[in-house]
């Protein structure tokens, strides 16, 4: 383990520290914005698990984000009276519904020989389009206008200060990062990466790749739901655009530009790209979208690790007797 290979670890820790310090010094408006982007970041890390690790390209991840956001809104607005209107119940439903939905999608698409990569991408893309149209048509969900007045973060009936909200969002993001890092660096994570490289080979070794992929897809779906709920809470309202095609493709762009296979890079991609969009789109107007498209193409063609992937890659996990040949594991 050379010093060079540890730079990813040091940088990752440094970035979390910077984000922590930012909560003390940065002004409230930026903090509120950043807190919203942390929801995007959690969403992006979920996608990084299923896409960056397992190589399953989901073009409909916003279905689960939107399902989480709408579930949370429905509960906290008291529209599902038999569930109460507590924030805790909102989060519970925002985890349960996307978990079930992603389980259903996994069951349908991975079953049997399963859909190949491209078929899976196109089918999930269609599913996102269907979901968005369906939500737009659903009067109970507010139709095209969405649902307003989703309550903000509160403890004991008091609305929290912006900086407190920021720290809570940061801690949730850090927690998700830690848990996902453990998953990715476990033997299960290694299997996911093996599926990405050659699914048939993993299957021939006796593993049930359908089951392995489904678990990762469901974890990603649940995380997307959590991110959606957090976003609804930060943003105050939900609309059909959280479900469909546009957000699904945006999160792909964030993750690809950041670095799909490195968790921290995917997370930062989801902070930096929308952040840059927010500041630059006013100045550059339509040119901004042209630029981001070009940057996206460049990130895809030139490197699979995105802009930040190589910088933030953590050293490989050390397992018994394995650290000697860990050099050869890298692709």
């Amino acid at each position: 383990m050379t010093a060079v290979r540890r730079h990813g670890l040091f940088l990752t820790i440094a970035i979390w520290l910077v984000l922590l310090l930012a909560g003390l010094v940065v002004d409230e408006w930026v903090l509120a914005l950043l807190a919203t982007y942390f929801a995007y970041g959690i969403f992006a890390m979920g996608l990084s698990l299923i896409w960056g690790q397992a190589g399953v390209l989901s073009f409909g991840q916003a279905i689960f984000f939107g399902a989480g956001a709408y579930s949370f809104a429905l509960v906290t607005l008291g529209m599902l009276p038999w569930l109460g209107d507590s924030i805790a119940m909102g989060f519970l439903l925002a985890l349960a519904v996307p978990t079930l939905l992603s389980g259903l999608v996994a069951w349908v698409t991975f079953a049997g020989r399963g859909l190949s990569g491209a078929h899976f991408a196109i089918v999930t893309l269609c599913a996102a389009a269907v979901a968005e149209t369906a939500v737009t048509r659903a009067d109970f969900l507010g139709g095209y206008n969405g649902l307003f007045g989703v309550p903000p973060m509160m403890i004991g009936g008091e609305m929290l200060e912006v900086s407190a909200q920021y720290f809570i969002m940061l801690l949730v993001a850090l927690g998700v990062f830690a848990v996902l890092s453990l998953i990715i660096r476990s033997p299960y994570g290694t299997l996911l990466q093996a599926i990405r490289e050659d699914e048939n080979r993993v299957a021939h070794l006796g593993y049930d790749t359908r089951w392995l992929k489904s678990v990762a897809f469901i974890i990603a779906g649940a995380l997307s739901g959590l991110a959606g709920a957090l976003f609804a809470m930060q943003f105050g309202f939900v609309s059909p655009s959280l479900v469909g095609f546009a957000l699904s493709t945006q999160v792909l762009i964030w993750v690809a530009v950041g670095g799909r296979s490195v968790l921290m890079a995917a997370f930062l991609g989801a902070l930096i790209v929308p952040g840059a969009e927010n500041t630059l789109s006013n100045i550059l107007g339509d040119i901004w979208l042209l630029l981001i498209g070009a940057l996206f193409v460049l990130a895809v063609v030139a490197s699979r690790n995105g802009v930040l992937g190589a910088l933030l890659r953590l050293p490989d996990p050390e397992r018994f007797g394995r650290n000697a040949d860990s050099e050869t594991q890298k692709g």
Binding site: T109, A121, A129, V130, T249, I287, L289, V300, V301, R304
Partner: protein, 281 residues
């Protein structure tokens, strides 16, 4: 009778769009998310041409040429680097679609443009009065499909093209210029999309979003019929357009779309290789 003509009309429009995708996705294995934007190139070529005082039909001839040029540029700059990375083609072409759409917005503005209908009025088709331009589109779709079938599966150049796609290394060893073939087929696919956009320009509102609505139905049509098959694509387009027109008798457009997409996804789930599994043409 009018119901049949309306179905045939939607079939023709979708078929025109799908033809280019058959070449780029079906044959070349590039999952082309920019296909809707390739339509824009054709449509806006006609807008520019008619705006400059040229005849619509001149614009219709120019459109596939301009599109082919754009296709060539896109192939050389981007696509040739990712032929071997199947899934990444989705992402790269998605980025290309953003760039193309924004370029169109920068040049022509975000609002809808109109192209004067070169053939106003209607004519009698089997006793039904039907708009003349729509009849032209139906005829163009059918004859272009037949022409593409002959070119790909009955001509020498089509054979070479399919050889390159089937096995690049062996094709190169046989002395075929695989790079030239790649460029030619990608440009052909984009040119077909450009033609589709151009011929539809008088009957649709030409705006930067016009391609988006075609993307999903055309991919579904190809997957339904089976990738790597032109006849399959015809069957897929027939299934999608037939089901859409049939269901839209009872339901609104949005609900129809939901049901057709869901049905298509279920069929694809059970026939991942298409309903015409086994056929290779």
């Amino acid at each position: 009778m009018e119901f049949i003509l309306d179905t045939l009309n939607y079939f023709s429009v979708l078929m025109l769009v799908v033809l280019g995708l058959v070449v780029i996705f079906g044959l070349m294995n590039v999952i082309n998310m920019a296909h809707g934007e390739f339509l824009l190139i054709g449509a806006y070529t006609v807008v520019a041409a008619t705006g400059a005082g040229l005849n619509f039909w001149v614009g219709l001839l120019l459109a596939p040429l301009v599109a082919a040029l754009v296709g060539l540029i896109v192939e050389v700059l981007v696509v040739q680097r990712i032929y071997h990375r199947f899934l990444d083609t989705i992402l790269a072409t998605w980025g290309i679609s953003l760039v193309l759409k924004q370029s169109v917005i920068l040049i022509f503005g975000p609002t809808a443009q109109s192209v004067p209908n070169p053939l106003p009025g209607s004519m009698s088709v089997f006793g039904v009065d039907y708009p003349r331009m729509r009849v032209v589109i139906i005829v163009a779709a059918i004859s272009l499909s037949v022409a593409l079938y002959l070119a790909l599966f009955r001509s020498n150049i089509g054979l070479k093209l399919r050889t390159v796609i089937a096995n690049r290394d062996i094709a190169a060893a046989l002395g075929l210029n695989t790079r030239a073939m790649d460029r030619a087929s990608f440009s052909l696919g984009v040119a077909l999309a450009g033609f589709a956009g151009a011929i539809m320009a008088p009957v649709m509102s030409v705006d930067p979003q016009m391609g988006v609505g075609f993307l999903i139905p055309s991919f579904l049509a190809i997957l339904l019929g089976g990738v790597n098959s032109l006849i399959g694509a015809v069957v897929g387009v027939g299934a999608i357009s037939g089901a859409t027109n049939f269901i839209s008798v009872w339901l609104s457009q949005a609900d129809t779309q939901i049901i057709v997409f869901l049905l298509a996804m279920v069929v694809i789930r059970f026939f991942p290789e298409g309903i015409l599994k086994g056929r290779k043409k």
